[in-house]
Symmetry: C2
Subunit: 189 residues, 2 copies
């Protein structure tokens, strides 16, 4: 019951096609959730059948036709119910952590390489999020925007994404440093 509400929340900012949603939910931004196109199309079909979103056909000349979806009143009510219900905390679930956990028993060089690469990816995401935040607040001061902005939800989730990626980057860099120092020490000995 999770992707369902993520889709509803994403559609609050306007009409989107499955394809457009897919791009937002796929690698790149993925502000507050992540999903593959196939899931999204399936989810949209289900949501429409349940009356939580409404789709309308848009005929295009140069491109294939598309269907744009928007949240219905029932969809909004469903989101309201969802928001009122308690949800249990999320956990970290990352292959890289498993590798680091095992690092004393396996080839540390392989783990080190992946930490370096992941730090790079996280740093790239940090930049993307920072640009997105600037765009979302439309030149305004952050405190001012958060106090009086009309639509702050996406900004707030973006802040979480930024914090997460910064943490990931810093941790990867720090652990990589530790592993490098140990490798050098072992080499000298």
């Amino acid at each position: 019951m999770a992707l369902k509400h993520a889709v509803l929340a994403a559609l609050l900012d306007g009409e989107y096609s499955g394809y457009q949603l897919a791009k937002a939910f796929d690698i790149g931004v993925a502000n507050f959730w992540h999903a593959l196109p196939q899931q999204l199309y399936a989810e949209l079909t289900g949501l429409e059948a349940a009356g939580l979103v409404a789709g309308r056909q848009v005929v295009q000349e140069t491109r294939p036709n598309k269907r744009l979806f928007s949240v219905t009143d029932e969809g909004l009510a469903e989101l309201e119910r969802f928001a009122a219900a308690t949800s249990r905390p999320s956990f970290i679930r990352d292959d890289l952590l498993v590798k680091v956990q095992a690092v004393d028993h396996i080839d540390a060089a392989a783990v080190l390489a992946q930490l370096t690469e992941r730090a790079r990816m996280a740093a790239a995401k940090v930049e993307i999020f920072e640009q997105l935040l600037t765009r979302l607040r439309g030149g305004a001061d952050e405190a001012e925007f958060l106090a009086h902005g009309a639509r702050i939800g996406p900004y707030l989730t973006c802040l979480r994404g930024l914090g997460f990626e910064r943490e990931t980057r810093d941790w990867c860099e720090r652990i990589a440093g530790v592993l490098r120092a140990r490798a050098e020490a072992a080499h000298r000995a």
Copy 2:
């Protein structure tokens, strides 16, 4: 192919029963992965069938008998292969973010309550991780431990957990503050 390697990594520190693993993987610590008991028992059965872990029966008098598992050489080789393969980055996937994303369109008070509660939970986890870190480095200085400790993997993943929970706590508190200020401003108006 994810939980499999998490279980192998967890068993590197000694023999554990499914029950003991379940406690470590369930709420509480969940250093680097999270899973329910049923999953773990199933996974252990599969790993044993594949020869990646070995189980031995321990007969107990006051408690039900248990089976303790340890990683075999083949299991270690499998972990090695896993560590060498690249794995794509992890995403945040959290119901609370979905609620925050929708906060401008739904009852902000409900979201605020959940942010407060989540901040409390994250703060509790921060304390647990801090205590665990102190225990893991056995009184030694952190830099000293990371440079020369024999088993640093669990410490490093614990650091990630700590950073994640701190970020979660800080973000929840900050966003809660923003929502409270907006609610007050709306009330005055």
